[in-house]
């Protein structure tokens, strides 16, 4: 469990993040979303005990990130992928992973097995001894992800994990994250990739130097936006805009050609009512869809509203 209470970090007059308060339950994938300079990386660095908060604190497994003795234990429980892979370019993939695994006291046989397994999964076992400096950006990113996972951490912090990865590798990483989630690993992901966040995150927090909102992606979409059903019919009766008011809880937003856009409260209940009512009006329904809003819509809508806070 990760608990942040009023977590703040100031660099002089610049408030990178202010009063960040969230709870991340064990075994969840939690996304931190926000524009560049919103304080995502700063927050992650504080949680990884790389920098100390100016105010507030956070606890990981009950250990306080502001206490040096606790911070040392926390660093043993976490895996961290920074924005840039930061590999040792003259060393091979195997040496890079083996070096990091040793800091976590992974016994040699288990280390060798874990490295082989990970490099096999990433399709890099045959190139394990080649200097990683000659690898593509995507391959380096894969090795950096493997480095964060090699000691099987309880908490995983990933800063832009699929940046510079091709779609196939991105999917591999996403599947890996979801697999880790099933094993009980708590994962915090910083990402600009909202589609990815929507797919893998149980909860997301939208931040812009302070917490703007937090919640399940779908719930956020439904909370921020009204739910709209689009019904394409064979014809639209002239008095429809008046008669449709008979349907309680449903309002007509607009009509476009032979499509009606209706605001509904609960599509599961309201959509069948709409179909039945239209049938009673001698209007045939050709098809009906629900207008979907994405996390991107939520993100853009919320960020277009001014929020207090500086820039990181």
């Amino acid at each position: 469990m990760i608990t942040c209470s009023g977590l703040s970090k100031h660099f002089g007059n610049i408030h990178a993040i202010d009063d960040f308060t969230i709870d991340i339950p064990t075994g969840q994938v939690f996304g931190l979303l926000g524009p560049n300079g919103a304080g995502k990386t700063t927050t992650m660095r504080m949680l990884c005990c790389l920098i100390r908060p100016t105010n507030g604190t956070a606890k990981i497994d009950g250990l306080d990130i502001t206490k040096p003795a606790d911070a040392h234990i926390i660093r043993g429980k976490i895996g961290f992928l920074p924005e840039v892979p930061g590999l040792y370019e003259t060393l091979g993939a195997y040496q890079n992973l083996d070096f990091y695994a040793q800091f976590y006291n992974v016994p040699k046989p288990r280390r060798e097995q874990a490295i082989k397994q990970t490099l096999d999964d990433l399709d890099l076992w045959n190139r394990r001894d080649e200097p990683v400096g000659g690898f593509s950006k995507g391959m380096k990113q894969k090795i950096a992800i493997a480095r964060a996972l090699i000691h099987n951490p309880q908490y995983l912090f990933l800063d832009e994990p699929t940046a510079s990865l091709d779609p196939q590798a991105s999917k591999l990483v996403r599947d890996y994250i979801l697999d880790l989630k099933t094993k009980g690993t708590t994962i915090l992901v910083n990402t600009h990739n909202l589609t990815e966040a929507e797919r893998i995150c149980d909860q997301v927090a939208l931040i812009k130097n302070t917490l703007i909102t937090v919640g399940n992606p779908k719930t956020l979409e439904h909370t921020i936006f009204t739910r709209t059903t689009a019904v394409t019919v064979d014809h639209i009766p002239p008095d429809l805009s008046q008669t449709i008011t008979a349907l309680s809880g449903i309002t007509l937003q607009k009509t476009q050609n032979t499509t009606l856009y209706l605001t509904v409260t609960n599509p599961t209940i309201d959509n069948p009512r709409i179909i039945t009512w239209l049938k009673n009006q001698n209007v045939n329904v050709i098809y009906l869809t629900e207008e979907e809003h994405t996390l991107e819509d939520v993100y853009l809508k919320l960020l277009s509203t001014p929020h207090p806070g500086g820039s990181a």
Binding site: F11, R45, C48, C49, L50, I51, R52, H72, I73, R75, G76, I78, F80, L81, P82, V84, P85, G86, L87, Y88, E89, T90, L91, Q95, F99, Y100, Q102, F103, Y104, N105, P131, A144, R147, A148
Partner: protein, 358 residues
């Protein structure tokens, strides 16, 4: 402190270092040039010097090398031996008086009013003794006379003689070569140690490294030894080669290997590592404070100043290199090393390195 973490970091750094062929080459080449090739070029002309008799040159063939040892006393009295090897194990409380010794090796004895012929004398005290075709090492002698004496690390006083100017140059030369072996380990690590922290930062590998359970002390110790091992390794290699090559030139001249003597051994085993550590610590401190490798190397150049001071002191004659001087400088450098290490640890600021360096 978990030495396991430190050792892991050292092995990684050394593995990386092995791949940097240019740096590795310079680390090996510099000691070989300064510690082997240069002394050989300087020493060879001295070995071919022919002694020119002068007004004061009345001991034929006297050659004196090395630094005289500090005064010592040996309580051996009333003992007589001929045609044998005498050592401090066989002679106890004996003085050799009015004896002619032929083909003897006399070690740790007091010799008074004696006559030595074709002998080797080691760690002994001689007085009023006539020495002919004799090698005297690590010994003290007063009121001596004779001919064809080879003296190494001996403090000999002759009644009617003093060595030629050419022979006086040799001890100075040997001290100069010794100083080179102190300068080398003090300058070599500036290349590696300057890169230690700032290099990790520039490579962007510091952030994931600091996110592991490694402590500041373990990180700094690892970085220090990563620089110390190759620097001292290259220095010891050059030292071994240098001693061997110089001895190969000396042996035909004086009949015995001169190097390494006690001064050289103390210097390479104690003074050189502490000087090397001092240089490394200075560079690591600079490396953790500047944000650019070039700046670290540039500023790191100043770190060797304390060793340069020692060199100038020895060359100017203000500092006499004796075992006691070497031990005193070792203690001084060690104290500076400890202060620098705790200072480096105190000023090492993870947050500053991660957030302020670009």
């Amino acid at each position: 402190m978990a030495w396991h973490n430190t050792w892991t970091l050292i092995r990684k750094d050394l593995a990386e270092f092995r791949h940097q062929r240019l740096v590795l080459g310079s680390i090996i080449a510099m000691p070989l040039v300064l510690g082997v090739i240069l002394p050989l070029f300087m020493f060879y002309p001295l070995t071919t010097l022919t002694t020119t008799p002068t007004d004061t040159w009345d001991i034929t063939g006297l050659q004196q090398y090395g630094t005289p040892p500090d005064p010592f006393t040996l309580p051996y009295t009333n003992h007589t031996q001929t045609n044998t090897h005498l050592t401090n194990q066989t002679i106890t409380n004996t003085t050799l008086i009015h004896m002619t010794l032929s083909n003897c090796v006399i070690i740790s004895c007091d010799l008074l009013d004696s006559n030595l012929t074709n002998c080797t004398v080691t760690t002994s005290s001689l007085s009023h003794t006539d020495c002919i075709d004799t090698i005297i090492t690590e010994s003290r002698g007063t009121s001596l006379s004779g001919r064809h004496i080879i003296a190494t690390n001996a403090n000999l006083s002759f009644t009617t003689t003093k060595p030629s100017q050419e022979q006086i140059i040799l001890p100075t030369f040997i001290n100069l070569v010794l100083i080179i072996f102190i300068i080398i380990p003090a300058t070599l690590p500036t290349i590696i140690a300057s890169y230690s922290i700032v290099g990790e930062k520039n490579n962007r590998s510091l952030e994931p490294l600091l996110a592991t359970p490694i402590t500041d002390g373990e990180l700094l110790t690892g970085k220090i030894f990563s620089s110390l091992i190759p620097s001292m390794g290259a220095t010891l290699l050059a030292f071994s080669l240098g001693c061997t090559m110089l001895d190969l030139l000396i042996i035909p001249k004086i009949g015995l290997p001169l190097l390494p003597n006690l001064n050289w051994l103390l210097s390479i085993l104690l003074l050189a590592p502490t000087a090397c550590l001092m240089s490394i610590l200075g560079c690591v401190i600079i490396s953790s404070k500047v944000s650019d490798v070039r700046a670290a190397q540039q500023v790191g150049g100043f770190i060797v100043m304390p060793v340069v001071v020692l060199m100038l002191g020895v060359l100017s004659g203000l500092i006499l290199l004796s075992p006691y001087t070497i031990l005193a400088f070792t203690a001084l450098y060690l104290a500076i090393d400890l202060v620098l290490f705790y200072f480096a640890k105190a000023i090492f600021n993870r947050e500053e390195i991660l957030t302020k360096w670009k």
